[in-house]
Symmetry: C2
Subunit: 460 residues, 2 copies
């Protein structure tokens, strides 16, 4: 190679940017399996005694269990918005102190200015599909197909919305749920194809759609986002899973999701590029404890869905990538669903936009068994910063139990827990560690400089 050629090559390297990196790195397929209201303690591999999850256990045995992995919010809409954008919900307005999620009468949704992970990966030539519950806006501009997804099949908001007038009142409708109590639409792309959605077969149909999508992608990398509607109440499962679990109805639901994971992984295993597929399994927030036996378990963690205690936001998370992620490994690094954005972008060779604040850190060092890059984790409830975690330490500025406390309690003197020693948040050690409090207050101060709240989409 002469000097001119060499310079030309350097020039090409310098200017091809994204495309070159993407093609040279053989970008992997990426699948995100996302549950709804799954508790930290609800999988056998995370310690549940009576829910059988052999496929998830096998996914853990073949991959990595992440024991300190968080959703970005303790409820649905903001949690999903953050996963999609790699940004805290307060930055894009997908939260509120008044309405916690989007409802069928909401006019808002994910702003067009946001870059979703699907839009991001499309830049590198990925095929993209969203199969499952969206909940980032059901009006036309906000639908998945207008936010980076080639294909959409699923329900646009929660499965307990659109309750019909003559359904049983209050929680009675959930105890013996019937499909017709909720008039939730099932959509394909931008069309309603079934109403009410037959929730009984919904997990099975999501699974079939996911497999068909995987099998159809022969020569193109893909991003598959598979947000299950379950185990959010009302609980529905296929005939094959009726009374299958020792854990009752809730267990049946988890065991059908477990089956689904097995089916999806089998489709990947049988595909040509099985060795080039990264799969995440996690959930949007903790278990909905007010539903008693129809809600899940946060295991040893405190409280559940809706609260910024650990049970509300820490999720049972698995990562699987045969040949890359060490089999049967465990990572105790602090990480977030928001980090999937940076990770996927890096793997696909797409630059993360530098015109906005991001809350996303590349997970590859963690997935390779090393230290993560994330310096801190912020626990928001709506626009309120409730708590912060850095390293072992979590400081609560405010707390609000998921039920029994209608208003948040401000702690003039913040609470402090060492989550490594005390994952159940039992023993406040703020008095003994004033220097840690000061350090965490400093982290918050820095964070707040660049934490500009956007107008709420949930109040529209």
């Amino acid at each position: 190679m002469n000097k001119l050629h060499y310079l030309l090559l350097l020039y090409l390297f310098a200017h091809c940017g994204v495309t070159l990196e993407a093609t040279t790195k053989d970008p992997p397929n990426i699948i995100v399996i996302f549950c709804d209201d799954l508790g930290y303690g609800d999988l056998a591999c995370f310690g549940h005694p009576t829910i059988a999850t052999p496929h998830l256990d096998q996914m853990a045995a073949e991959g990595m269990k992440l024991t300190q992995f968080y959703s970005a919010a303790p409820v649905c809409t903001p949690s999903r918005a953050a996963l999609m954008t790699g940004r805290l919900p307060m930055r894009n307005g997908m939260c509120s102190n008044k309405r916690r999620v989007l409802f069928p009468d909401s006019k808002g949704g994910i702003p067009a200015t946001e870059i979703t992970i699907a839009e991001q990966l499309r830049q590198a030539g990925y095929a993209t599909a969203c199969i499952g519950k969206w909940h980032l806006g059901h009006l036309q501009p906000y639908l998945p197909t207008n936010n980076g997804f080639d294909y959409y099949f699923g329900i646009p908001y929660s499965n307990d919305m659109d309750r019909v007038n003559d359904a049983p009142k209050n929680r009675l409708a959930f105890f013996k749920p019937k499909v017709e109590y909720w008039n939730v639409p099932l959509m394909r792309n931008e069309e309603i194809v079934e109403r009410p959605a037959n929730q009984t077969t919904i997990t099975k149909r999501y699974t079939e759609e996911a497999i068909a999508f995987i099998q159809s992608k022969k020569d193109q990398p893909y991003f598959l986002y598979l947000p299950h509607s379950m185990p959010h109440v009302p609980l529905f499962r296929s005939k094959e899973f009726e009374n299958k679990s020792l854990r009752g109805l809730y267990g049946d639901i988890i065991e059908e999701i477990d089956w689904s994971v097995g089916q999806v992984l089998d489709a990947v295993r049988q595909s040509d590029d099985a060795k080039n597929t990264l799969v995440f399994f996690t959930s949007d927030n903790g278990p909905w404890l007010i539903f008693n036996e129809q809600g899940g378990s946060a295991g040893l963690l405190r409280d559940g869905k809706g609260s910024t205690w650990e049970g509300g936001m820490r999720e049972p998370t698995l990562a699987w990538w045969p040949g890359k992620i060490e089999e049967g490994s465990v990572s105790r690094q602090v990480a977030s669903t928001m980090d999937i954005f940076a990770t996927a972008s890096k793997l696909a060779g797409v630059k993360v936009a530098d015109d906005r604040e991001m809350d996303s850190y590349d997970l590859m060092p963690v997935l390779m068994g090393g230290q993560g890059d994330r310096p801190a984790l912020f626990y928001y409830r709506g626009y309120r910063l409730m708590a912060v975690r850095a390293g072992d330490w979590k400081m609560h500025l405010m707390t609000q139990n998921a039920y029994g406390q209608p208003d948040p309690v401000t702690h003039e003197s913040p609470l402090l827990f060492n989550l490594h020693i005390d994952p159940s948040e039992k023993w406040d050690v703020s008095k003994e560690n004033p220097e840690v409090i000061a350090q965490l207050q400093g982290i918050i101060k820095t964070h707040k400089k660049n934490a500009i709240p956007a107008e709420s989409q949930l109040e529209k």
Copy 2:
């Protein structure tokens, strides 16, 4: 073979009994690794987020996790007596409503009339060793060497006994423990070889002794009982494990036990009959919650050591037998430490004595992935029958929280929980299930006919 020979052979078969069965069945080595106050949620494979237990996780991956396995009592002495004899403590007097365990001033111990699992296996030619904490009587007749063990190395009672007068008072001694605060003897066979026992290296020394025992047994089946002194407070660990665990001092302790399990299994793997060794890992009772961060976690289970809520008696249990027990299997059958007696007896081909009531059921059907034989489980606190479990159902006649309740509370109308659906015992469903209450009362009635309390050894 002529007819005479055939009849002679039949005669031999009929009369050789024990010995013939034992030799023809190639009796396996049996190892029981027993912790002290380990919580249901304290192992990574049972869901702990920050305690690293790679060797126990591997033991689970190579064997079976038992998620509904119980000790026979919520405190030390009765629990161990039941493991040793396959009988409820109230049958042999190894319990009391006044003193919960044996103390250094106790005069009693395991009665000579009891048949220990070591005595039982000796009949089939087993070598036997007890390495660790005994706590079934420290006076000469009660020591392991007078109860079926060829060899003993360990402490005769709990590591927090014999506190010296000038040690810090109350719980202060535990918070920054020093070896010299407790004058506990370390024994070899019937001799005291060190006093105070250097608890810092005790887990390491038990491990070395266990390995030496395994390696010395070339042509003889063996029974190794390895009851660790830890994680009972005061917590001590070797230099190599100082500040090793994210979980702090308590985590260091568990991670040293995990290392020990790895060492023991490695010794088995390297031995000639690796394929013929059944290993159990479990504990005597739940976590001692009053010690806050120096106590363990019962995970999603309610309460801990001392109580008959699930957290007091359900243990994180593993069974390992390469080539026999299916790798990575999970059993949700209800079983007990008492069942190890019948299991070992059957495997060794030794008949269980029929002159006494037994509470032990052969575990082999469970270990082979099938249904267990155990019809019910009785939760005793001293001589008081507190609760009963049959199938999914647990009925509490009395409850007493491990702390905050100095006296037991009798429930005129018993509490009922479905442990499959509600392992955390949150929702009393007695009102909705009177027929289950009646059925469980019937089981208790039958049980009581043959539950004759023996004189207490703990009040002597």
